[in-house]
């Protein structure tokens, strides 16, 4: 085990996969000489050169489309989109190209590319640089979506994503880059895509979260413990394909579900979780599924305003209490 920051864990995953497979290359805005605005690709250009660690113009639409066809024709591109807020620019490539040809040209081509991006609020980046658009990408068939919460999962999932045969959207969170955690040593320690992880065991209520919301959910569990409530926190890790078994197991035990996502509430990822639970766990439910997500509005800038809209431990704990009452 080595203690490292989330950003360092991602960097290690990129380095190891580039060393392992010469067809892996990185491209994106400011990722080369500068090492990425969040320093995830720091030092990689020096090691692998300009061709494989490529600074690009500000052209998210074409970059994403190019990632799709570069992946079809022999390479494993890892594209960095600087902010998740720019994902709408990538949508045609994901919705009309990657998704479509995963099915239409199945058996003829694989589309092994990774789109890395980061979202989330809390640091005053304003309405165009703080969103969580998980639901938007999770809506697309054939695209896998992962959102790790810890350095170990960040590294293990990124390595799995790069080796996957399908497109993977890799969602990071700007407030996680500096978090530290133990990461298993070894070049071949992978975290499988499609497997959730129970991070807090409990028997009264299940809280399902991903990315930074896992930390909020863990803190909510601590708040709830003061009231004698034993909350179970499930880190989904992969948003699509979703680990339905893990959800079923937990709700069968707790009979109560709180679903958390930092994105918008209406038609959001939490809504999908809620619908999934209704369909698959209805008879285990002892209360309606509670959604904790962003209010349906643009994210404000001023600190008290931004804090008011972000889901947090207190809101999660309140939702859990309401479900249990």
């Amino acid at each position: 085990m080595t203690v490292m920051r989330y950003a360092e864990a991602l960097n290690a995953a990129l380095r190891e996969e580039m060393q392992r497979d010469p067809s892996v290359f990185l491209f994106g805005e400011d990722i080369g000489r500068y090492g990425g605005v969040f320093k995830v690709s720091k030092g990689l250009r020096d090691e692998f050169g300009d061709a494989r660690v490529r600074d690009t113009p500000i052209s998210e639409q074409a970059l994403t489309a190019m990632a799709v066809t570069a992946a079809m024709s022999g390479t494993r591109p890892v594209l960095e989109i600087m902010y998740a807020d720019f994902l709408p620019l990538s949508l045609d490539a994901l919705v009309n190209q990657a998704s479509v040809f995963t099915y239409l040209w199945e058996g003829q081509v694989d589309i092994p590319f990774v789109l890395r991006t980061q979202g989330g609020g809390g640091v005053g980046t304003g309405a165009q640089h703080a969103k969580s658009l998980d639901a938007m990408v999770c809506h697309i068939p054939g695209i896998k979506v992962v959102a790790p919460a810890t350095p170990a999962d960040a590294k293990g999932l990124l390595k799995s994503a790069i080796r996957d045969r399908q497109p993977v959207v890799f969602l990071e969170h700007k407030l996680l880059y500096n978090t530290r955690g133990e990461v298993p040593d070894g070049d071949d320690v992978l975290v499988p895509i499609g497997k959730a992880k129970t991070v807090v065991e409990g028997k009264h209520v299940s809280i399902f979260a991903s990315s930074k919301m896992v930390i909020e959910a863990e803190n909510a569990a601590k708040l709830l413990a003061k009231d004698g409530v034993e909350a179970e926190v499930i880190d989904l890790r992969t948003l699509r394909p979703l680990d339905l078994d893990a959800i079923r197991r937990s709700i069968a035990k707790t009979n109560h579900a709180v679903v958390v996502n930092e994105g918008w509430t209406f038609c959001g990822y939490a809504s999908e979780l809620s619908a999934t639970i209704m369909e698959h766990c209805f008879d285990d439910l002892d209360a309606p599924v509670a959604r904790v997500a962003m209010p349906d509005m643009a994210i404000p800038y001023s600190e008290p305003l931004e804090m008011a809209v972000l889901p947090n431990a207190v809101k999660i704990a309140a939702a859990a209490k309401k479900a249990l009452a």
């Binding site: 052209s59 639409q61 190019m66 799709v68 066809t69 079809m72 099915y103 040209w105």
Partner: protein
């Protein structure tokens, strides 16, 4: 002459153009009878662009095309039977009936592929060229796209990066004068879209899109340049769309006066004249008869091929496997 097609190549090009025309004629007849599904976009009058451009590439080069890409399908070497089977939704189609006439793809012939999002082929070919450059291959990729696609934002983004990184990609702008029903001069302030090449530090060239030799030579030169590592080329092939946008096009915006000179310069007619001078009219007639027979055979076989059966697509599933 440098990069000129050989006589055998001209014969093959002529054969494929006639196959394309015949394919579309028969499809048109089926469409009129209501026996096709969805729209059919015909490239009548534009066959020289797709067929001759593909003829100038190697088998392992990639090409991307549009929703109007029958000439590229045939030009890159796809079988007529596989194309027809796909258009009629059969199991034996290139995409097992999943794609249809606009979204056909075949990795073995390097045809990846048709694309019905206008402009999408441009970054697609650019991305393939990026892959080739990173893998240090001497392959090239080519995109055949229209004057409508040239007005998209992604066209600018992709060409900029192709020029910037000297990617081995050939941009064949098939200027058929129309984006759906709107003429090119209503969509762009410049008549010759090839002037844009200067903005991306690549050569821009105009060729007669109804002249197979002109198209072939330009593409062959561009491919050589790309393989040398000198980067992309923009080739504007001037041509004309004689059959409207699609089978669902009501028409009424293309006048007979406007169309007449283009019909006069039909690329198959021009090709037949040139080829007759080289190999004689009988040989040309035999080529055309063989092409028509091939198409007739393809329809006969494909239409008796089985339909696919539906299966859930596991890689697209929302939930990971449950046990």
């Amino acid at each position: 002459m440098i990069n000129a097609p050989s006589t055998d190549e001209l014969k093959d090009i002529h054969h494929k153009m006639v196959v394309t025309r015949e394919l579309e004629e028969v499809l048109g007849a089926y469409a009129k009878e209501g026996k096709t599904r969805g729209p059919i976009h015909r490239c009548d009058g534009q066959e020289a662009v797709g067929v001759a451009a593909c003829a100038a590439l190697r088998a392992d080069d990639y090409v991307c095309t549009t929703h109007r890409g029958h000439h590229v399908y045939v030009g890159k070497g796809l079988t007529t039977r596989g194309i027809v089977a796909e258009i009629f939704g059969r199991e034996t189609g290139y995409c097992k009936g999943r794609g249809g006439h606009m979204l056909l793809g075949d990795v073995k012939t390097g045809m990846l592929g048709g694309n019905a999002i206008v402009g999408a082929g441009i970054p697609a070919a650019t991305g393939m060229a990026l892959s080739m450059q990173i893998l240090k291959q001497d392959r090239v990729s080519m995109v055949v796209f229209g004057d409508g696609a040239a007005q998209t934002g992604i066209c600018h983004e992709a060409m900029n990066m192709a020029g910037l990184w000297k990617l081995p990609v050939i941009f064949v702008l098939e200027n058929n004068q129309y984006g759906l029903t709107v003429r090119q001069e209503v969509q762009s302030p410049v008549e010759d879209l090839s002037v844009r090449a200067a903005g991306y530090a690549m050569p821009g060239e105009i060729v007669d899109g109804n002249d197979v030799e002109a198209v072939y030579r330009a593409v062959a030169a561009a491919a050589e340049r790309a393989r040398r590592g000198d980067g992309p080329t923009l080739i504007e092939a001037k041509t004309y769309r004689v059959k409207g946008f699609s089978t669902s096009d009501m028409g009424g915006y293309q006048s007979e006066e406007e169309m007449a000179p283009w019909l006069e310069r039909d690329p198959i007619k021009l090709s037949a004249e040139k080829l007759s001078a080289l190999v004689g009219a009988d040989t040309v007639a035999a080529i055309e008869a063989a092409a028509r027979a091939e198409v007739a055979q393809a329809f006969e076989t494909a239409l008796s091929d089985p339909f696919p059966t539906f299966e859930i697509h596991a890689p697209s599933a929302a939930y990971s496997e449950t046990k």
